[in-house]
Subunit: 371 residues, 4 copies
């Protein structure tokens, strides 16, 4: 692909040079959908223009580079993308290259294996898999993880911070290991945290979370599920009472299995999640006090947008943005609440939340490179 | 359009002639999506080959005919369709033509106005609008109906039978007026009736019905909602706590507003409804006794298919069929149940349910012309 | 799946019994998309109600049956479908079962291997693959076929009839082996044959065929191409100057490579083909004489519908029908013609054309079971 | 919508302040799809951060503002967007506000009426409609324009520059009136100009341009054509031999009607155009010399990307980018060429080409705000 535009990149770089940092980042697992979005965000991140990220493929020898835009043609034309390559890698190389922060967009088995080594070598890590999100062993069982050194894994797990910047900003800033949240979990946790922290929810009847996600959530591997003929013009529920993101809801919202129920569905669209959440209120509420509860909770959260009731979020309003949009509707008797929460599963549900976490870890404003 | 195939239609007709009836039907409002499906079903209905339906447009003079296949090109090639015309009409004409059974695929205001007249003239009616579905005046308020003769309307309302063949078969068979159910309502009522009638549901926490429908449910009128740019690659909730089908749930399932909650969503697909229904059980259940409850209730219901748990229905399995598919998943503790119910909103949710009702009214097997 | 409807099937069967034949059919390769449509058509074919088709899977032992509706849930509820099984098979079994006509919906290598054996055992064959469509060895090279017995293969090839009923009806009626046409080829050949046979085309500039097909044309195997994320919201050209259907155009329309050019594209829809065909006329034409040419050619062809110019076919008008729709637009100077041809690639482009061929081979009207 | 992010906008602004210009822009007709994209591009244009654009609605009184993000919710969260309003306007206001450059994203009748007035008042104009693209009166007839002052209109027309930066960069830089090209035209003209200027095309047989566009090209008005039910799962050709963009092809490529033919189709996707273009070469070519011809022509064109044969552009690779991608395939005999050209109809086909023109008019690099 022709890349005359590379000529002009220096203008952009120079213009921002006063803001440059020395943080060196690397992504392992750039070939998936979240990896592509993460590459896009890091390549144009204003603080990283002097220290462009490394893109890493298979572990082992430092193999010959494949062009990033051969794997992701849609990144072509983005400044610095056409020159970028994806290489084999090993730990010595990362240290030699001076990598400070490692993003793992890898299967959870790999993340579980690599994170202890990365921390031991002085790297900080943002892990996009589910490997380190869950403190409770029972919840974690669904991932079938096998730790070579169980004691070490327990120590690492103990220091992992769940990477929801709106809930754990200060802890993330100091963390060596950030476990980036699941996409469904993010849409639900952000919708429920304000009301739960304010003790406004009647938990006796349980909270119902009916979520719907686009096909990118099912991954890049060609399978019967992701075949166009099965996904298009269709809708299906799956993993009822058994989805892996359930544990995140229990732990982050401090609920029991009886108190929250989550059903995912596969939508015939490329990307976006909409969660419809059904809550009984402890006391009758008004639209005003619900609105005030959300507004106050997210007053300092630039990537969460609260819609004015009766307006509700739609998937189209968040796709290809870094926002989570939240709206609600209150029953006429003020006792039942429907919350609608939307985000782009590859962005606020994955890559842009990872960048938000990096920003906090580096001491920058959390929206750098995201607005 | 070339129609050499008309030549061969007689073979088909003759072959079935022993089964022909003398029932004469007419459809008012054939131009919409439900009307088109109804036309398709009646045109190929084995009992109606000698008495093809009349297709009626504007009320008033018996105006010049428009070709049915000019309005609905997709019907072309169907036996008898290319010769069919849609005409203006009036009551005298219907009587002169010997119409016995009138299908109204008209706005609810029109249906409310015309049904008393039709009954007075000795016609039986299947009304596909919401005009006559609700007995309770409060529930009906959402339709903003104005009756010229309130006493007459009350009498007619009192004899209207809700057209759910699985629930009210015998009453439908004798009815002069059948109020064909709403599409969302059908998917929910059929999913819940077995458990509710068996007193298996704990109603204290309320039932949650999260429904998703294709765009044909929003009608044929071009609006911002139905514009491709707004519907495609999107999902949105609407009419939260205020959808008109709610009253049908309350009346048919004998529940209060506190006991059931319904939220519709607009899916980016042409047709199909999937309802995800959340129920707490009065006592712990097993997969076997839930399955048995559904199987027993629908043992004689050929158009309801019960899936074997853990298999769940999908929209693709019911689109362009006359079935309602129902499946479920029980929580590990046996206390919470997720029911998934799917149908084609234009067929079992409208036109084919109307034909099923006609079959019962005529004394035929309910599946005639539907399998 | 519940199948109370099976009870009522006998009514349907008895009603039609006078028309039943003794022809026994079998399908090998029922698991693909064309196979599913073929199964649907044969199961409800009025002539085959006494001799329902065999559905055959792997060659070898007569293995235990898998339910047809487990492979194709969308067939469930169709009369006789829920009881049908797909079994392993071998040649002795076919003879013992009295199979007369074998449909091969198999890869071309398999069809090439099996057809000589089938003919030797007295079976007639409709082959849906490309194995036997091409007489010219050079054209056939694209399929990389290897014949164990080249002389036998040449003899079989010589008697194969290209299964376009509109062009070769009488030969098909007598054929032992019918090579069912490609989907793209059908849309193009039917659009061009009338004008070419009437010598109305100026071939010096070549005919351009720009075709677009839905994803089902790419087959059921999950691949990057058929992944929802790559197919949705996209359009791409492929196999430019190299698509395997080109040879059928050359042979059936008796053209050279310089005289016709074909470019396929992948559309983001499940099914349907639209071919836009650009022709220069030998002499200036009028809309009337072009229309007359098409009308005359297809006067006796019930499954080809000629639209009245300026109306043009659309994919929506043919999807899930057995028709090929053809329309055209003539340039103001009468010298250049754009022909638009549409069909459902799985029906008139595959399964329903195969049934049309079976009808002719059995001496029935070509539309039996197709209208 | 909550907009805490506004707080941080000043950081961004200050950082770039050295690059700010004093150019004041305004958009009339921001409510459509192209208008929304233009608003997005101008709001984040690095040179315009001190002089944010005016968004103008109805002509007349300077009416009360409507929030830009109420019209286009997807712009919310973009820096400066949530504070922006769309106001009524008049000519005096534009002068008082110091507007230098006016973008007209208005119907062609409006653009035809307003441009002479704008020029008379010293404004420069980029017009996105078809009003001023065509010099030849015969070609222009398709727009049915009525000029109040024909002589004035002729003068204005004479100085209008066709806004294809790759073809007319120097003239655009000096122009008072730039007629921004049509979306289809851009995809075709950029694909053909290199070969035509190099006299490599045999024009005797004519060039065939088979183009396919997403639904946004049909505009924001809800019509039967843009209804989801008609657009989804469909493909149709339209305006054969009569599309308004044809005149641009004739004038810009200096061809006669016999030498080029253009057929547009409506794709079931939101955005993107793919044109498949069929060319006969004057002399046999090689892949290398065709590639060299494109490469040389676009060596200095940063927004045109030439793919290496045999790779071909796809719509997914250009959607939401400012690029036009061009690729080709040469026939084995070297005489026939298929060129595939893709762009986003709302960006390189409309809004980003308009910004590219603004950049040239302002003396900035043509890619400012576009990479």
């Amino acid at each position: 692909m022709h890349s005359a535009q590379a000529k002009y990149a220096y203008v952009w770089r120079r213009r921002l040079s006063d803001a440059f940092s020395t943080l060196r980042t690397a992504i392992v697992g750039v070939s998936g959908y979240s990896g592509a979005e993460l590459a896009r965000l890091l390549l144009r991140h204003p603080r990283l223009q002097n220290t462009l990220p490394l893109f890493l493929g298979h572990y082992g020898t430092e193999s010959r580079s494949v062009a990033l835009t051969d794997i992701h043609p849609q990144l072509s034309g983005l400044p610095n993308a056409d020159d970028a390559g994806v290489t084999g890698w090993n730990w010595n190389q990362l240290q030699r290259e001076g990598v400070d922060l490692l993003f793992l967009a890898t299967p959870h088995e790999q993340s579980r294996e690599w994170v202890p080594e990365a921390l031991a070598r002085g790297l900080r890590v943002v892990d996009l898999s589910g490997a380190w999100r869950l403190r409770d062993e029972t919840n974690r069982a669904v991932y079938k993880l096998h730790d070579a050194d169980a004691a070490l894994a327990a120590t690492v797990q103990a220091e992992a911070v769940y990477g929801s910047p709106e809930l754990h900003g200060p802890a993330i800033a100091k963390a060596r290991l950030v476990a980036n949240p699941g996409c469904y979990s993010t849409s639900i946790i952000l919708a429920l945290a304000p009301l739960l922290r304010a003790n406004m929810v009647d938990l006796d009847c349980g909270i119902i979370c009916d979520s719907k996600s686009g096909v990118s959530g099912a991954g890049k591997a060609p399978t019967p599920t992701t075949h166009f003929m099965n996904a298009a013009d269709n809708l299906s529920a799956y993993a009822v009472f058994g989805h892996r993101h359930t544990g995140e809801l229990l732990e982050q919202l401090q609920l029991t299995e009886n108190q929250i129920q989550f059903t995912p569905h596969l939508l015939p669209i490329p990307r976006g999640i909409l969660s419809t959440i059904y809550v009984r209120l402890a006391d009758s509420g008004t639209t005003e006090n619900i609105q005030a509860c959300f507004d106050a909770f997210y007053a300092e959260a630039p990537l969460v947008r609260i819609r004015r009731s009766p307006a509700l979020p739609q998937i189209q309003h968040v796709v290809r943005t870094n926002f989570c949009d939240i709206g609600f509707s209150l029953s006429p008797d003020g006792k039942r609440l429907v919350i609608v929460s939307c985000l782009d599963n590859l962005l606020k549900g994955a890559a842009s939340q990872a960048v938000q976490n990096m920003n906090l870890m580096a001491g920058w404003h959390e929206t750098e490179g995201l607005l």
